[in-house]
Amino acid sequence: MIPSLDLLLALAFGNLGLMLLAGRNPTAGLLSMILYALQGWVLVMLMPALAEGAASGLAFQVFGWSLSWELNGLGWFFAIITVGAAFFSAWFAAGAWGVQGTRSPWAFHVTLAANVAAMLLLLASRDLLTLFIGWELVTWAGYAMMIQSGGPATRAAYKYLIYGVAGGLAVLAAVVLIQVQAGGLGFAAVAAWMPGISTGMLWALMLLLGVGFGIKMAFLPFHRWQAEAYGESPGPAAAFLGAISSRMGLFGLLILLVHFIGLARLDELLLPLIGLDARILWMWLSALTIIIPTFIALKQNDARMLLAWHGIGQGGYMLLGVLVGSELGVAGGLLHVFNYATYQAVLFLVMGAVVYRTGTAHLDRLGGLITRMPLSYVAMLFAIIGLAGLPPMNGFVSKWMVYKALLDEGLPLLFVAAVIGTLGTILSVFKLIHNVFLGQLRVEHEQIREVPFSMWGPMIALSLIVFITGYMPGLALDLVMVAQTSLGFAALDYHLGGFVTDTGNLNMLAVVSVLLLGMGIGAGIFLLGGNKSKRVHQLDNYAGGHFLTTEVRYHYSHHFYAGLLRLIGPWYITLIKRLEGGIAALTDTLAAGSDGLYRTAYTPILMLAATVLGLALVL
């Protein structure tokens, strides 16, 4: 069984078929876990071959069109993350969550397998037609996964579908345009043909493909659908979607901007009026994508919405890093894809566990769960330190690389915008962990216990990955280098702990070991220096001489950051929300108008007029 793309796809579709048949019996989760592990093993086996650029592929003819698949470094990197996220989601759903946590585990396992298969097809595509097929399959598989929990989820999924289909049509239009102009659809052919085309055509292609891929990645103007869609889907499904699903859009954008057009060409593409070149335009768009969703996340009251909004925000870092163009920047952007997938999956899994135990994820109806669910707390703690990008965790490494690249390339304002995004993230992640796990425990949550091993296992495993790849970023950078070389950039020289560049270096081994040693000394001072302390009940608290009982809830979580929101509250002008509402209203009126027109008595005359007009145009 030599590891090859055919084996990988066979395993993926085999898993899908198996889940379709045996999805209901309790061991389905275990089976799918084993199959995902196998797929991961196949991918790992493929790594040495891909490092030198060789890649196994398959191709066949359908009605005269040639469909070809071939796994290269970039696709392989995304595939590793996809299969990893699927493995941990399946592990979470294999145990007690499958039995009580969801109405039908069968639906979850089938849609997960379908998603993985579709994504592998998309990632391995070698020509635009297969890319489009994979793209549509991913959209539909995502839709199937989102509507599982019913209720508000169906409405959010329907909105996602409208955006997804619009994106798909944009990509289809671009593919048709390229087929008509260039004749061939293979990536190599298109990449060869691209330099010759006129700037007008290039703008058109970039617009069409950019819009199509941007929608899937929830890029700024098209980000409205992702928060509700990911937030409403059940725990492990949200973890998988949040971790990797929207990165398919990034995969497409990378192929478009780097593989087809090339960053150099982007520099010359000047915007007619303001003299801004296209690369800076894309970078400012991704910088805005970092800031605006992060500060919308700050206002959210539902934990899952908060996390989903962060998903949109963090996407901006990845594209910003790659578009910088220097090895450090591209490596930072790609590493952020990996890092983000790890801690976002943990956060959604922890919220799935909290919903499994307390039945709600609303930040005003939780609090003090640290005493009842300590392991979930530890997992969330590791993950929010990663999401906020603070030293011991891996989130810091990739953000540091992006900042360093921005500063080295002389783009300070973009650096400031990215850091403002990070500050917003720190504020909102603290609100998340404070309102869910800290503060006073509620009376109704007094009896709940920690989630079973099948649920806290994946959480703790993923948070350990977050810590280890933060402590030794070299491990994750090996994966990134495979993707970076396949994108055509020079490999970054790094060592296990970090980088040595002439303008300032980072050695996470030193930073984190000093941090841990410092904590050792701090523990020595604190535990040995002072006397024994006594644990007291949560109602034994200072309240200005007031006797605390449970009638009065002595807890601050509603309208967190009230002072800040009093200032920036009016700045949320929901411009795009109203724009979207306007478009929706416009289509409604058009539909109603045509419906009214169509239903009136003299329809045959209208039909006749329409056909005559059509014939006149055609002949």
């Binding site: 007094e446 608290n541 200072y542 605390l548 009982t549």
Partner: protein, 247 residues
């Protein structure tokens, strides 16, 4: 509503008592001496105006008398404070808050009574609403004469307290743990049998091995019995009757 998360668990008092200061090792003795020295040099006064004498404190803290010279700072919450000042008469309502505040303070802690109202009731001796002897409810270290004592007298009182702390003689706070039953008896006599503070004093006495023979007694038994009703999860007072009848 199970019992175990309720603040008052009357923990079994271990038989071994806390080793006396002379039995501790040489290093321990040095550390104790350094601790005592620093405790006398840095005192945090609780910013809690219980009576009419509190107006004397701003002048003693600010530029004229400046008690920061002896290392004293006003602190806001009882958790951070060392000294509780009872400045004048104490109404029964205020006494409840004073006891809660005293128990929230961390020992070694000291109480200073201003004026004769804290000794024998002062000029409110025949009032139905004020407490006559402060010493019945919380252990008091120093009394300062004067209705109300001027900053010079307060300063003298603090210097005397500092000198007694340095000499290791200001140990009234241990009396609260050793004879908690007597103090609780007086408190229950005033506030009723179901009187309860969130701080678990008996538990603390056991935890820090500060318990004496007077820690447990009839009143702490009452505390235990009524603890069942007035749980932290809130069984309102009115329902005691039928709970008592039913149990």
């Amino acid at each position: 509503m199970n019992q175990q998360n309720f603040p008052v668990q009357v923990a079994p008092l271990e038989s071994c008592r806390e080793p006396g200061p002379e039995e501790r090792s040489m290093l321990r003795k040095v550390l104790d001496r350094v601790g005592q020295y620093c405790q006398s040099r840095s005192l945090f006064v609780l910013h809690y105006c219980t009576g009419c004498g509190a107006i004397e404190l701003p002048p003693s803290m600010t530029s004229r008398f400046d008690l920061e010279r002896v290392g004293m700072q006003p602190m806001v919450t009882p958790r951070q404070a060392d000294i509780l000042l009872i400045t004048g008469y104490l109404s029964v309502k205020t006494l409840k808050r004073v006891i809660l505040t005293y128990e929230q303070m961390q020992s070694p802690k000291y109480v200073m009574g201003f004026g004769s109202c804290t000794i024998n009731g002062g000029m409110y001796w025949n009032s139905y609403a004020t407490v006559k002897r402060l010493g019945d409810y919380i252990p008091v270290d120093t009394y300062i004469a004067g209705c109300m004592p001027r900053p010079e007298a307060i300063q003298q009182g603090f210097l005397d307290l500092i000198e007694r702390i340095d000499g290791g003689r200001a140990v009234a706070w241990k009396d609260y743990y050793r004879n908690y039953d007597r103090y609780l008896g007086h408190q229950q006599h005033l506030f009723g049998r179901d009187w309860l503070t969130p701080t678990d004093v008996v538990g603390e006495a056991a935890h820090y091995r500060l318990a004496g023979d007077g820690t447990l007694g009839p009143h702490t038994a009452l505390l235990d019995q009524y603890a069942g009703y007035h749980q932290a999860w809130g069984v309102p007072r009115e329902q005691y009757a039928e709970l008592e009848a039913s149990s």
